[in-house]
Amino acid sequence: MAFLKNLSVSVGLVIIVLLFFTAIFANWMAPHDPIRIDLQSKLMPPGGRFLCGTDALGRDILSRIVFGSRVSTLIALSCVFIGALFGVTLGIISGFFGGRIDEFIMRTMDMILAFPSLILAMAIAASLGPGISSAIYAVGFVQIPMYARIARGSTLSVRELNFVLASRSFGASSWRLIFVDILPNILSPIIVNATLGLGSAILTAAGLSFLGLGAQPPMPEWGQMIAEGRANIVSGEWWVPTFPGLAIMATVLSFNLVGDGLRDILDPRLRGRK
């Protein structure tokens, strides 16, 4: 059983490493130019020169997927960065100071959580004007409450531990307590959820792009590519949306596997400490 768990986490890690590698070295890894239009080669099935076929404008799908990994990695990291930065900050403040501040911050988080996440992200992205940065802000914003809740919960537990009380009795300032004592000790659940959040960010951003609110053509974003290939499905050119979707699925699955694995590794230790 433990071996299987290790196997799935390993597979996930391999895929993630592959993803980052592809994102960084896309220029060298892509066989063709992802944006060059070549109507003579349009809608060719997978095989030969074009391993994943071409789309309606003759662009090589594999190359677009390779460059799309760069876009998706950028999106995922940015969204989680925004969400975690604001969320963890708010959560720690909330948990540390308590009282009215805690009430206010948590009520606001509840407000945001009251919305179905995609719909809220759609509204935000629409207000900001469709585009990839709007999608990033929107998805990042929607993730804030999750980090805030986790950070707050962990802060509440850590706050009462002996070493924190000891620091306090030595007259440590609030800032010092937060950064030196509390923050390093609440990192585990945050890291787990950040990993899972990376996958979630990719899915939501792909959804936004699919709906036209995120990445705009000709940017090779996977969700966008599925939208472009939508009409092709009913006329039999299945490869146009299928491969980008597989890319999304493999990526998100790997983040979920690693996140789950991390949770299993880190949780029992936390439980043991209490």
């Binding site: 407000m111 995609l118 759609m122 935000i124 609110l213 969700g223 299928t242 979707g245 998100v252």
Partner: protein, 340 residues
């Protein structure tokens, strides 16, 4: 069953709903008015003339101070004014209510699929913990939450419509040649049953299967996981050990004791899943051309009309909040240990 305590609870929860609604209206106001550089331009589009922009600004009250704008806006919402769609030229609320039954039918079908598939699989998974069966179903659950639902819908259409020719074309709730049943609830399947319209019943069911299955994917994966972990928790409890020691048949233990107690948190999960279902509905309706609120909003976006999405955000959130309220009350009703 309707003890005084329950009515008090419902009343209290409804009151608690008010600050939530205030909060979400503020959030949407910020998104609709404060964030966009020029809300008037957002409504009219890039090619609007300066004069029409000025006229819209006055009409939207953008020349007034922000707090006054918010009060006008809130008063509008209380009146049911969620703005006007530039595309359909009708009030957004009217449009949403028109398209709501289609979304409701799709969502109910998805929930039904969730319950009849995820719960039994989750139970079996828990009973056969760590077996190959267990790992397989957990893998499916994990895959389910990892894939883009709109992509899965396309795959389903390709497999079942294009290749196997089992499913009808994804043209919406009915085939082009079938006329809808007489309107009673707006749910075609139900209405066909109630009016005895066999043709519409079969056709609407055929069109419902694929989108409902597609929509159910995310929430089903979650429900499967929750059922499994809920059952595992319950099965390790002492009273189960007692039941076994008493010599109760396995079936009785599972269904009378374990499942009943595992069901309680499941109801909460079903409520939370509703938000996921609403998310998924927007994407699924787009793929299958299902004429619900989601498709309405998506088409508005394609026409650069962004007012409906704000209206949907408010509308969907209110429904979501009400559903969770019902779930909370059900929770208390079902579990006698929870004191009112």
């Amino acid at each position: 069953m309707f003890r005084k305590g329950i009515l008090l609870l419902i009343g209290k929860r409804l009151l608690l709903l008010v600050p939530t609604l205030v909060g979400i209206s503020i959030l949407i106001f910020i998104i609709a008015r404060v964030i966009p550089g020029d809300p008037a331009r957002l409504v009219l589009g890039e090619s609007a003339t300066p004069q029409s922009l000025e006229a819209i600004r006055r009409e939207m009250g953008l020349d007034k101070p922000i707090w006054m704008q918010y009060l006008i806006y809130t008063e509008g919402i209380l009146r049911g004014d969620l703005g006007k769609s530039v595309r359909t030229n009708r009030p957004v609320l009217r449009d949403l209510l028109d398209y709501f039954p289609a979304t409701l039918e799709l969502t109910l079908a998805a929930i039904l699929l969730n319950v009849i598939i995820a719960v039994p699989f989750g139970i079996q998974s828990a009973l056969r913990r760590n077996s190959f069966y267990d790992h397989l179903s957990r893998f499916f659950a994990l895959s389910g939450v990892s894939m883009p639902i709109f992509w899965f819908g396309l795959i389903l259409i390709y497999l079942f419509f294009f290749v196997l020719k089992w499913a009808p074309a994804p043209t919406g709730r009915l085939g082009i040649l079938t006329s809808p049943p007489n309107h009673i609830t707006g749910l075609f399947v139900l209405d066909s049953l109630l009016t005895g319209n066999g043709e519409a019943l079969i056709d609407s069911l055929k069109h419902l299967v694929l989108p409902a299955f597609c929509l159910s994917t995310w929430s089903m994966a979650i429900l499967l996981r929750m059922t499994r972990s809920g059952m595992l928790d319950v099965l390790s409890q002492d009273y189960i050990r007692t039941a076994r020691a008493k010599g109760l048949p396995r079936r009785a233990i599972i269904y009378q004791h374990a499942l009943r107690n595992a069901l309680i948190p499941l109801i909460t999960v079903l409520g939370l899943n509703f938000g996921i279902l609403l998310n998924g509905a927007v994407l699924t309706e787009s793929i299958f051309s299902w004429p619900g609120m989601g498709l309405y909003v998506v088409e508005s976006i394609t026409w650069l009309d962004y007012t409906p999405i704000q209206g949907l955000a408010i509308f969907a959130t209110i429904i979501y909040a009400l559903i969770n309220l019902v779930v909370d009350v059900l929770y208390v009703v079902i579990d006698p240990r929870i004191k009112l």
